[in-house]
């Protein structure tokens, strides 16, 4: 296998998968490097179809194991006996916080990263958000506004598939939506009462990257509410369901897993990064890969 690529992408989560797709589709050879294990779409979703009675603790999980090894991850959404293998082992991967800011860092160290775990809610920012710093004086005024980003929202939503309702609200711009999911009688009753009592407050259906319509071999949502186990229907946006197949289809993607990037090669004369140094965590082999551009898509903030 060659060690020279046009581009290297470190991390296969939401942004890494997108970088791999966009770059390969534009003709670049790309090496996508994932520190964690392979999770092949459909094949490796080992708990997806298990009923509660097929698990040791019926879905609650081994409380002692979770307290010992998943003390942070177990506090959050989507963490249960079916999904805990998609979350990082906190005991093996400690981090420091300060007393003033004891943040909980959610992580998933496997192919797809948190794209398997995220909440799938997709809400466009408006100029209320982009212009907030200018308006309230906190931080510097961002040099972009909604008009600059809107075509990229279009681009992403059209690819990943987002269901939602068009509401024409200036504070929450409409997107490129598949048809919305339905509200039940209680939600509709609340919506109607809000309309009467607080007409400027809107209750709208969630805008989610769970599809209501089939798209390019991905099926629509089956309404199981088990997304974080992995979805063999491909019904929500993840690296596995969407960006990885697109990148692979170009023939220009090389994917390596169990591969930890522990340093970058930087040339101070050219002031450019020239490559990455990788430790294969399974074989303990070390290798250097080079590229003209390196995308660091490894480890963002909480899901």
């Amino acid at each position: 296998m060659s060690t020279q690529f046009d581009a290297i992408v470190v991390g296969s989560g939401i942004s890494g998968g997108w970088a791999a797709k966009e770059l390969t589709e534009r003709g670049l050879t790309v090496l996508l490097i994932e520190r964690g294990p392979m999770v092949e779409h459909q094949v490796d979703y080992k708990t997806e179809m298990l009923a509660p009675w097929e698990l040791q603790y019926r879905g609650q999980g081994d409380a002692q194991l979770f307290a010992r090894d998943y003390a942070i991850q177990s506090k959050g959404m989507s963490f249960n006996e079916w999904t805990y293998h998609h979350f990082v082992n906190d005991r093996e991967n400690p981090y420091q916080t300060t007393a003033e800011n004891p943040f909980q860092w959610r992580r998933g160290y496997q192919l797809g990263g948190k794209s398997l775990l995220w909440g799938r809610q997709c809400y466009r920012w408006s100029d209320l958000d982009f212009g907030a710093n200018a308006a309230d004086g906190h931080g510097c005024d961002w040099p972009i506004r909604y008009a600059d980003v809107s075509p990229w929202y279009d681009h992403v939503e059209q690819f990943i598939g987002v269901s939602g309702s068009r509401e024409g609200l200036p504070q929450l711009p409409d997107g490129q939506f598949q048809r919305p999911m339905a509200m039940n009688a209680v939600e509709l009753a609340l919506k109607a009462r809000l309309q009467t009592a607080y007409p400027d407050r809107k209750l709208v259906i969630g805008r989610s990257a769970n599809m209501t319509e089939e798209k390019e071999g991905r099926s629509s949502c089956q309404y199981r509410n088990i997304c974080a186990r992995g979805c063999s229907f491909g019904a929500y946006f993840s690296t596995q369901s969407s960006t990885l197949p697109a990148a692979r289809a170009t023939g220009r993607l090389t994917l390596i897993t169990d591969s930890l990037v522990d340093s970058l090669d930087y040339d101070p004369k050219t002031r450019r990064v020239s490559g990455v140094r990788v430790l294969n965590t399974a074989s303990r082999e070390r290798k250097t890969y080079t590229a003209k551009v390196v995308f660091l898509c490894a480890g963002r903030s909480t899901a």
């Binding site: 294990p37 080992k46 708990t47 179809m49 298990l50 009923a51 509660p52 009675w53 097929e54 698990l55 040791q56 603790y57 019926r58 879905g59 609650q60 081994d62 409380a63 002692q64 194991l65 090894d69 506090k75 959050g76 959404m77 989507s78 963490f79 249960n80 293998h85 916080t97 004891p102 943040f103 909980q104 999911m181 339905a182 509200m183 039940n184 009688a185 939600e187 949502c221 089956q222 309404y223 199981r224 509410n225 088990i226 997304c227 974080a228």
Partner: protein, 200 residues
């Protein structure tokens, strides 16, 4: 009848302390083996003595009707493992505390009372146990929780009494609920979306 070696009966597993094995190590291999082998753990071996009491209480809480109720070995297996691991913060000596409470109220061995008196005693205990201000932390409350969870996440409760749909395939915002309606048992606690907020 020859027992299928791949799916042993729960009774045969009752003396195998699989519940005490760790799941650590090569997570993919071990977890996969447990998930796919069908060898779900029976109860913790040391709890075998508690089985008659817990199963009798399960039978009182959810008697067998068209479904087996909560007095089964399957339910006891879960309750035993839950106590071993401290699920729902139950204490390790839950069975001993429960026995002591019931025997005190029975004025002797609870299990030797006639069935009707056992049921009346439990009904009275239950009525007293959920008063406002009590946080559901009595041995009875904890045991009843485990029995209900053990039953409704078991195959009988989860798929015969309730309706388990592996792939609903659709979302109907409003559904008719008549006499034949069986509530969906999937995602039984809303595990994926409801989490007690715990400060860091």
């Amino acid at each position: 009848m020859a027992e299928d070696p791949f799916f042993p009966s729960f009774e045969s597993l009752m003396c195998v302390p699989l519940g005490r094995r760790g799941f650590m190590g090569a997570a993919g291999v071990l977890l996969g083996a447990v998930w796919t082998s069908g060898l779900l753990a029976g109860p913790v071996a040391a709890d075998a003595g508690a089985s008659p009491l817990v199963r009798r209480l399960g039978e009182i809480v959810i008697p067998a009707t068209e479904t087996p109720g909560a007095g089964t070995a399957e339910v006891f297996a879960f309750v035993s493992r839950a106590v071993e691991k401290g699920l729902f913060d139950v204490p390790a000596d839950l069975f001993a505390r429960l026995q002591a409470e019931l025997d005190a109220r029975a004025g002797g061995d609870f299990l030797r009372l006639p069935a009707a008196r056992q049921e009346a005693l439990v009904a009275a205990l239950d009525a007293e146990s959920y008063r406002p201000g009590t946080a559901g932390e009595s041995p009875w409350c904890m045991t009843k929780t485990l029995l209900l969870v053990g039953y409704y996440t078991g195959e009988a409760g989860g798929s015969e009494e309730l309706d388990y749909q592996l792939v609903p395939g659709r979302y109907d915002a409003n559904i008719p609920t008549g006499k034949q309606y069986r509530a969906l048992s999937n995602d039984w606690t809303g595990l994926s979306i409801r989490k007690e907020v715990v400060p860091s």
